[in-house]
């Protein structure tokens, strides 16, 4: 069995898939820290649909779908930033409208697209086993930029995550952090269209962060746990999909859910809160 696995790992498509797993897991899960802590899961949904709609449009216009996906993501990021800074519309509503508009656009494109519907469907759930060298290259660049962003601006990021308004009031360039985050979300989502796809990526943009939220109060560890759970979900998903001959994107998402469920069940933070509540009610009861 082990020999068989080592044998399999020598095949270039499997090697590329393994590298993509690490990169996809790392990039999506680092972003998920922001999405979970800023309570903006709709940003992930909107961006993933923008990437998907852009890619479908690319197919219609005979342009590289990843390029059009990326362009539409950047456009959406450019619109979302200023719109969500306006105080007269709730950000959730803006995201909701954007999300449904992009979904409509994607399905409209799918309806018109008669020739290559199968490849358009591939963009929905990705295919880890059919990645090209350039897919890996783009993913490496985007992931490196994201990691660098987190490392260089960690203290500003902590400040913005804690309270965006307070951060801005005290001279932290919160707009720079927020806009960079939107653009990076666009870049990560569109570069991962080929790995887990435009629809399933949403799970990786939320679940690793939600997993870390169960386990630590330290923001540095939060990023590390999130990245580890994202990479873990991608690699274990790939292995499961290989062994049981299942779609790789769906397997990755299901593994991410399983990791979250385990973290939730064994969460030390949840146990601590429960104990605290119990001791408080006991105190009240004995008075």
């Amino acid at each position: 069995m082990t020999e068989h696995f080592i044998d399999v790992l020598t095949y270039p498509p499997i090697q590329r898939a393994a590298i993509a797993c690490v990169l996809c897991g790392a990039s999506c899960s680092l972003l998920s820290v922001f999405i979970v802590l800023m309570k903006m899961p709709l940003i992930g949904v909107s961006m993933s649909h923008a990437a998907f709609a852009g890619a479908v449009l690319g197919m219609l216009l005979d342009i590289n779908p990843l390029v059009t996906g990326f362009i539409l993501c950047l456009l959406v990021a450019g619109v979302l930033g200023p719109l969500s800074d306006r105080t007269d519309i709730a950000p959730e509503n803006i995201l909701g409208i954007m999300f449904s508009f992009l979904m409509g656009l994607a399905f409209l494109g799918m309806g018109i697209l008669t020739r290559t519907k199968a490849s358009a469907l591939n963009l929905m759930w990705g295919s880890l086993l059919s990645l090209s060298g350039s897919d890996i290259m783009v993913l490496t660049c985007v992931t490196s930029i994201l990691v660098l962003f987190v490392l260089l601006f960690f203290k500003e990021i902590r400040s913005v995550l804690f309270n965006r308004r307070l951060a801005g009031a005290s001279g932290v360039p919160e707009r720079m952090v927020y806009y960079a985050l939107l653009f990076l979300t666009g870049a990560v989502v569109s570069s991962n269209l080929a790995t887990v796809g435009g629809l399933l990526i949403f799970a990786l943009l939320v679940q690793p962060g939600a997993t870390a939220l169960q386990l630590t109060y330290n923001l540095k560890y939060f990023f590390i746990i999130s990245a580890a759970s994202g990479i873990g979900a991608c690699i274990s998903g790939l292995i499961v999909s290989y062994i049981f001959d299942l779609p790789s994107g769906a397997s990755v998402v299901l593994m991410a859910t399983a990791i979250f469920a385990a973290a939730y069940i064994f969460s030390p933070k949840r146990r601590m809160t429960k104990l605290k509540k119990r001791s408080m009610s006991h105190e009240h009861g004995t008075r």
Binding site: S159, N163, L166, S170, G171, V172, L219, K276
Partner: protein, 258 residues
């Protein structure tokens, strides 16, 4: 040279057709402690937001002798601290009380510089001053409302501002905790030589150091002067459109109503 640290001339704030602030003129001198008081919807928070740079406005605003728009330079922002009303935070949020205080130093440090020993020592000193040093390593979301507001005060002071804006910092706290926070605010005002704008709607919970009061109603300034004159039954009854009486106890005025 202009001796006022804050100067508002004919400030209007509009939301669609409604005027949230209507021709507000206000001058504040350095080290003054000014209360901004009024009923709900009077425009108190909007006024504070104009000074903080959170709100677009029409009219002329000068801070530290310089004309300002609603967009502020980093340098101006650093000189204005802000203490918001108690806000909700997820109990699981990954930030410790000391880290929350430390966020006050981030803007002043600038990009690519990490907080060092000096910032850590100052953080602990301020947490001691606010009587929350023993909670430094506790997750912020697990502290009580009063403890979180003390952390918020320490955070604002760590920024080393010249002006401190406070938006109902004692709202939603127990009476004893409100009193404790108010005493800390008095202490800060004396110690740090700060100019303070303090928004509240509770006349019976005012910091002793606040001697000047601006009363707002429907976006208009209806009174600006000494607190004892402001706290008269007649002025307040007119402002709140409800019969209110005032009485004196231990040299301080209080408001009562049926």
């Amino acid at each position: 040279m202009n001796k006022h640290i804050i100067e508002l001339n004919g400030i209007n704030v509009r939301k669609t057709k409604e005027l949230l602030l209507d021709n507000i003129n206000l001058s504040v001198s350095p080290n003054e402690f000014v209360g901004i008081i009024g009923p709900n919807g009077a425009g108190k928070t909007t006024l504070l937001n104009v000074v903080a740079g959170f709100e677009r406005f029409e009219g002329a605003l000068s801070l530290f002798g310089h004309r300002e728009s609603w967009r502020r330079s980093r340098e101006t922002r650093l000189r204005i601290g802000y203490v918001p009303q108690l806000f909700q935070i997820d109990p699981a949020f990954p930030i410790l009380a000391s880290e929350a205080v430390m966020t006050g130093a981030i803007g002043r440090l600038g990009l690519f510089r990490s907080p060092g020993r000096q910032e850590r020592e100052k953080t602990m000193q301020l947490m001691e001053l606010m009587r929350v040093a023993h909670l430094a390593d506790r997750p912020l979301g697990q502290l009580s409302g009063g403890e979180r507001q003390k952390v918020s005060l320490a955070r604002a002071i760590l920024q080393q501002p010249d002006i401190l804006l406070m938006d109902e910092p004692t709202a939603n706290l127990d009476i004893a905790v409100q009193k404790e926070v108010l005493n800390l605010i008095n202490e800060i005002h004396k110690r740090e030589n700060l100019t303070i704008l303090f928004v509240t709607h509770d006349f019976n919970m005012l910091p002793a150091a606040m001697r000047r009061t601006v009363l707002l109603n429907h976006g208009k300034k209806v009174f600006d002067g000494d607190i004892d004159t402001a706290l008269s039954g007649e002025t307040l009854s007119k402002l709140f459109q409800y019969p209110l009486e005032t009485f004196e106890r231990n040299g301080r005025r209080f408001v009562s109503y049926d």
